[in-house]
């Protein structure tokens, strides 16, 4: 913190020529800074991405050389494939329900865990527990929780007089069950919110309190606006993540019952490695890519309206 020991006030600071020189060199500095990523991108990511796009225009069974089929895969996907539409429906439903729920849920928990009470470190650890469990253990655990006759969930529902359904066995409930389960392990986004909350200057709250603002006002006037960059991050990441949900379907339901949890990624994986249609799977992947990209760009476009960056306020 040595550089901060003799701070100069912003308003009093004269515009020095060396700052201008610095601005000119900003372009190459930017590229210098991002060069690790850029190089890694060119070596490991760009090539495979382009290659997979090419594969989407071929028929490839992984054994023999890919064979060019042009847009046939895409044509087939859109015109003649009920499984695709089913998986789209399942995934979209999951995304539209779970993204807002997890966004709000994780924020609420983070706010709670940001309370300055004794033993909060302990509670934080508990709330984070589900996120550190190995996925395979979580899957087994939740299969037990959802057991219609002996599971904890229906046991609890029974206490309040509700006879719970056969969660994972009933096509009407399986997806709901998986969404419910996703809310159990919000630890990831919760922690990011928590870090975001810690980035909010406490002087803001102190000023607000002096102005007589109550907690609710502080939440909506200070916390949430200050947290928008974090919300922005979590929103984009949960959009990307929710469209790519895979583990639950793979480990718990295998897409069933009756395709009610046929997640897009599960369908894609099945095509690639079970049905040996990597070309088709690549086309599916690029469709998913386009969908996620559109949503992400929409969020980015809208962000200037609602995301508040401290560094851009001047």
């Amino acid at each position: 913190m040595a550089t901060l020991s003799k701070p100069i006030s912003d308003s009093a600071r004269p515009r020095l020529p060396r700052v201008n020189r610095w601005k000119k060199s900003e372009t190459w500095l930017f590229y210098l800074c991002i060069s690790p990523w850029l190089i890694g991108f060119l070596i490991w990511t760009a090539g495979p991405m382009i290659y997979s796009f090419y594969l989407g225009l071929t028929s490839w069974d992984l054994f023999t050389a890919p064979r060019w089929v042009g847009l046939d895969n895409y044509k087939d996907i859109f015109t003649d494939n009920p499984d695709f539409w089913q998986s789209m429906k399942v995934t979209a439903t999951y995304s539209f329900v779970s993204v807002p729920l997890s966004l709000v849920g994780a924020l609420a928990i983070a706010l709670l865990l940001n309370s300055k009470v004794r033993g909060i470190a302990f509670f934080r650890t508990i709330f984070y527990l589900p996120s550190v469990l190995p996925a395979i253990a979580v899957a087994v655990l939740w299969i037990w929780v959802f057991n219609p006759q002996y599971g904890i969930l229906n046991l609890l529902l029974g206490l309040i007089g509700i006879s719970g359904p056969s969660w994972l066995g009933d096509p009407h409930w399986a997806l709901t069950a998986l969404i419910f389960m996703s809310l159990w392990s919000l630890g990831g986004s919760m922690i990011i919110y928590l870090a975001g909350l810690k980035g909010i200057s406490s002087t803001l709250y102190e000023a607000a309190e002096l102005d007589g603002a109550n907690k609710v006002q502080q939440l909506f006037r200070i916390t949430i606006p200050q947290l928008t960059p974090t919300i922005f991050f979590n929103l984009i990441l949960s959009i990307i993540g929710s469209f790519q949900v895979f583990t639950q379907a793979y480990a718990m339901t295998k897409g069933g019952p009756q395709q009610s949890t046929l997640f897009y990624m599960y369908y894609l994986f099945d095509m690639a490695f079970i049905k040996f249609r990597m070309g088709y799977a690549s086309a599916l992947a690029w469709i998913l890519f386009a969908i996620i990209l559109v949503f992400t760009l929409l969020v980015i476009r809208s962000s200037s309206l609602w995301v508040y960056y401290e560094s851009e306020t001047k």
């Binding site: 028929s59 069974d61 992984l62 054994f63 023999t64 064979r67 089929v69 003649d80 087994v140 299969i143 037990w144 959802f146 057991n147 219609p148 006759q149 002996y150 056969s166 969660w167 994972l168 066995g169 009933d170 069933g256 019952p257 009756q258 490695f273 079970i274 049905k275 040996f276 990597m278």
Partner: protein
Amino acid sequence: MSHSTKRWFSLMAVLMLALSLMSLAGKTTYAQGDSRTFPETGHTVSGQFLAYWDGHGGLAQQGYPLTEASNEVSPVDGKTYMTQYFERAVFEAHPENAAPYDVLLSLLGSLRYNSKYAGGAPDQTVNADADAVKFPETNHTVGGKFLAYWNSHGGLAQQGYPVSEQFTEVSDVDGKPYTVQYFERAVFEMHPENAAPNDVLLSLLGRFAYYQNPSIVASVPAATIRVGTWESGAALDIWNTLITNFNKMYPDIKISFEPVPDNYGTKLLTQIAANDAPDVFQVGDGDVRMFVERGGAADITPYVQGKASLPGIDTSVYYPALFQTGVVDGKSAFLTKDYSPLAIYYNKDLFDKAGVPYPKDGWTWQDFQDTAVKLTSGSGPTAQYGVALPGNWTRAVEPFIFQNGGDVSSPDGTKSSGYLDSPATVEAIQYYTDLYNKYKVSPSPADVSTTFQGVDLFQTGKAAMTMTGIWPEDGYSKDASLHFGVVGLPQNKARANAVCWAGLGLYKGSKNPDQSWLFLRYIGGQAGQTAFAANGLPSMPSVAASLNIANDANKSAFLNENQYLTPLPDMRTRWWNDTTNKYFGQALDTLLAGGGNVQAVLTDAAQKADADYAKLSTQP
């Protein structure tokens, strides 16, 4: 003409050429001294063995040498003798005897007959020719062309007494039926398609004996070969022991053992796509044809038949149905790792309590249904089910269809309509789904995947019977509180069963195929089959006999089902999983979820399967 037949004829051509050359060359052959190297197999015969070879029919009678002469322990008296393998005989030097008995031939015909037909060969016919000769020493008759051949080719000294009558045997070489007769030192095979003198041919007994001899060690360059399996847990101990023992024979072949505990298929396919797969790898029954047609698995037929100086495999030591599971379009691709037919386990205590007699082998659909109904009681947490049926597991439902004379697709796998929706199939599926929906003797698939997820319904006494393979048998036997028996599947119009099978193949891109073959042969042979029997059944009758499986009250029920195995429809087309199997499974889902007219659902499934087949198969 199949590959093997071609090979057979070319072998005969060489043989005849050699014979004529020998007769032309006459004594000059002898004059070359007491050692001769045969370029055909690269092995040398010398000394008394060469003299015996030349003096006893040479190539036609004895065949080419398969090995060099080496000291070997005789299975008869446990003593060590200088031994050399030829295609049709095994020579043993007995210096303790005076000539001409200083070279003796193994009684290969008798050995093979006894190992292959422990209870005598079926359907033997005594030759009724007027000139037929009955040998009182063995009580068997030789007549016709076989007698003529016997008389003109060394008779008793060379061929020995007959040990069987004539009968029909399917050749291991070309898979065709031939009339054969076993003698002590030879097996005569009638080839009416050939002109005399080639209408009677001898089996390659020496070769079979050589292939069967587990102590034969081929000399190959040092190499490291990679071995892939999906197995984990205790099964890995079996592998490690096998690898250790293999390395005692082949210390220069290093085995890099690569078990993949999960997502085996994903990893294997990635490696295949990158041309970097394990040299020897495990495969499931459903992927056999796919791996062959797409080119992941090498054609091991040449190795099986004995390539270069490497030992092959005597395929007659396997149960034909099991060996054939690894064969695609006449070419060998995989050897059996382990397998199991399906059977019904029944809980004796629950049967006793309900006063229901134990099921007996040969029982019928009606018996099965009645028994299951009697053993079904209660509901909710106290429910007891008559039987845990296999749900939408198509493999296990197919036997019902075959038992009723139905099928799921055409023999070439291209069409499902007319098969999957045929009256016989519909009737079978009606029976099967009625057990669920009408008689409610089995927990529904939804219950099994939720309420009973992870629960062994049979072991916990929730189901009085269960239909599955041999795998849980070991665990059940160790459970002192569980008293159970095993019985074959019930029958309707016929008996039928389906195999669950794991195979071992050789990667097509292997850089060390010879060394890989030696390992594959080892784990697919007697040693491996004995060890892997811990997880299933062995594919060799001799191993089943040595493990005394026939006398095991429970395991014998599985073994007995071998004879009713129907070739898997999975093998018919590489699109099986995308067409018939996919829609058949979905149809079962629909029907077992409680809905639908069986005929309508299956017709719909068959049409969808056909439409998808038409679409997929047009892609070259």
